[in-house]
Symmetry: C2
């Protein structure tokens, strides 16, 4: 059955443009070429990120004729690469494609520039090793983006002009798609960097604020880690995949859960004796103060719920609003367990320190009273798996 190359090309181009991972892109193209043109193998050479070498990213086709895996890298100064990088291939054919047979013929010409003869000879040698009968380069502007190496056709016939034209058009699309994927990758890298910056700055400031309370060293980090572990366990218990968005929000909310302590006078935070009723009331303001500080940041709406309600109790006896049961946002119920466990197991002036085992038992006892039973269950599981 004849292949409708024009149709194939259009379909490929449309898929390519929305694939932003160069590796996936290459796999797609190589697979398509092997499948449609029925060659023994197809291999793609692509520059590595340093652009000092070209990697044989993919090799596909019938096993016996696959390019050896060991040959995974070609230095940018290898003849085959140089031929294309220096645009010498344009001297071999108008469309830039280097076919083994044609190149052999050119070598036989007497009047051939010596440097072209050398590089062409060496390239043919490399094509021999790679069992390659045709090389199709792709350029973006003048930058060599890739070289597609093809083995012979399975029916042993020569490539026809229509096929070569298809490869050339494909190469042009590949160049664009690769450039596009590069640009996307850069933008995504930038996105990632900014997210990191946000998280790190939040951590730095949260830790600085935490330092005002001399009893809570490391508390924020421990609560954050434990909260995230509990959340993952809950998702697993419910046969759900990790909800990345929720985990991100929980991460931020845990980092910021005690941010409101910035509004509590130091002498209360650091008091070694029993607190007076008024002082206790003042400390109990910290979830609301935290929520107020973060209120202007609309993107943190969900996180603020965690900050505001992490001292609510499942039985409704908590603060600031006395919310009950499932009315308490899950994000806050999770932080509540993690926060309580860490508080119980670290030194506080107003009560004695508990062992992990004692604290776990206390949390178990409070399941359905102070704590959400689902969250408690996940916590207990983690504990019993030795992960806390």
């Amino acid at each position: 059955m004849a292949v409708n190359y024009k149709k194939e090309l259009e379909a490929a181009a449309k898929s390519m443009i929305i694939v932003h991972d160069p590796e996936v892109l290459m796999k797609m193209i190589v697979r398509m070429v092997v499948y449609k043109v029925r060659v023994t193998h197809a291999t793609m050479l692509m520059p590595n990120s340093d652009k000092d070498a070209y990697m044989l990213t993919i090799s596909r086709g019938s096993l016996s004729s696959k390019v050896p895996i060991g040959l995974a890298r070609m230095d940018k100064d290898e003849p085959l690469i140089r031929l294309f990088r220096d645009n010498k291939n344009k001297l071999v054919s108008k469309n830039g494609v280097v076919a083994y047979g044609e190149a052999k013929k050119i070598l036989k010409k007497e009047k051939l520039d010596n440097r072209l003869r050398d590089i062409l000879k060496e390239t043919l040698h490399q094509m021999d090793i790679l069992e390659t009968v045709v090389c199709i380069p792709s350029y973006f502007r003048n930058e060599l983006m890739s070289v597609l190496l093809l083995g012979r056709k399975k029916n042993c016939r020569k490539f026809v002009q229509e096929e070569i034209n298809f490869f050339v058009a494909l190469a042009s699309n590949v160049a664009m798609a690769l450039k596009n994927a590069q640009l996307f990758k850069e933008l995504e890298g930038e996105l990632n960097k900014r997210q990191q910056l946000f998280i790190r700055t939040t951590i730095a400031l949260a830790v600085a604020i935490e330092a005002k309370d001399r009893h809570t060293h490391g508390h924020t980090t421990r609560v954050t880690n434990l909260s995230v572990e509990i959340a993952k366990k809950i998702m697993k218990n419910n046969n759900l995949p990790n909800d990345i968005k929720f985990l991100e929000r929980l991460h931020i909310a845990s980092l910021l859960h005690d941010i409101g302590k910035i509004g509590i006078p130091e002498h209360i935070l650091n008091k070694e004796n029993t607190l007076t009723k008024e002082e206790k009331a003042k400390i109990m303001e910290h979830p609301l103060i935290g929520a107020t500080i973060l209120h202007p940041i609309s993107e943190l709406k969900e996180c603020i719920l965690g900050v505001k309600y992490h001292h609510e109790r499942y039985d409704g006896a908590g603060y600031p609003e006395g919310l009950r049961g499932d009315k308490i946002p899950l994000i806050a119920s999770i932080i509540s367990v993690a926060d309580s466990f860490d508080t119980m197991t670290t030194y506080r002036p107003y009560r004695s320190i508990l062992s992990k085992e004692e604290a776990k038992k206390e949390i178990e006892r409070q399941s359905g009273k102070q704590f959400n039973p689902g969250v408690t269950a996940a916590f207990i599981q983690l504990y019993e798996e030795g992960k806390i």
Copy 2:
């Protein structure tokens, strides 16, 4: 001279892929079509962001035959749009292009589906109004991305098949480029959102920390605004364009310049009487404490310089390191002037409040002593322009 459509197409496609602003993209395409194919006008219909209407984004060509500007919007239920959105155009021609003459012929057929006849009639009427002889839709998957409307050729001849083929291939590329631009725009939007989140969270935390010092309400915001204005003025004075990166860093650094006060005991920060030598020494630690808090955040390296050195003096008599003259990073020299001005003009327990005019004179007097003269000059200019 004959146009090499294949070459034009390739060149256009390569440019398109790296243009990520749909508006610019459309301008490029329309300009290219008018220039290469020599039509009286070319117009692009593109969905608006709500996708409830198509906008006549661009109209180009000889003035007399340009599409009237008033006709800037077509509802998504207009016949011309519906014809293409519902893929009814495929019933008119195999490649989806609707040409005026061909469509007229089809209308004359007796055996024509009534709904197709109606929509085609109405479409031709709209093409009349828009002086359009051919419509070329472009699709990404099944989504209508755009319709290119072309006026007649300037030489009044009919479009030939080669031209139509070119339009169809171009439309396919346009669809991809538009989809790609959309994806980029989304990613850029996300990037922008995260940057906003970072800035807003930093502001919220900085303001919360500032609130510990009861004398400095609003100080951070005022210093930040003034710093940025001074920086812009300096750039203008040096005939430089706004250095966005520097302004961003200065913005963050100003927001965080007093972050180290979190490490100073409240009773010192809020003391109404004269500070003891030890208390003064403690307060003078705040730039270093701030730098230490932010130290783990490598992305803030340049900002940290502003935090660390905003109490250095041009004559070398400042702290923490006694840096002198241009050894003091510019970012810190700018914050220094803005910070001093705001401190002088707002209430502090340890000295009397100055009027803006008095504070300005003091800064002028301290030029070359406490302050960098270049920064002082920019500040004075702003003051004299009534901008402070």
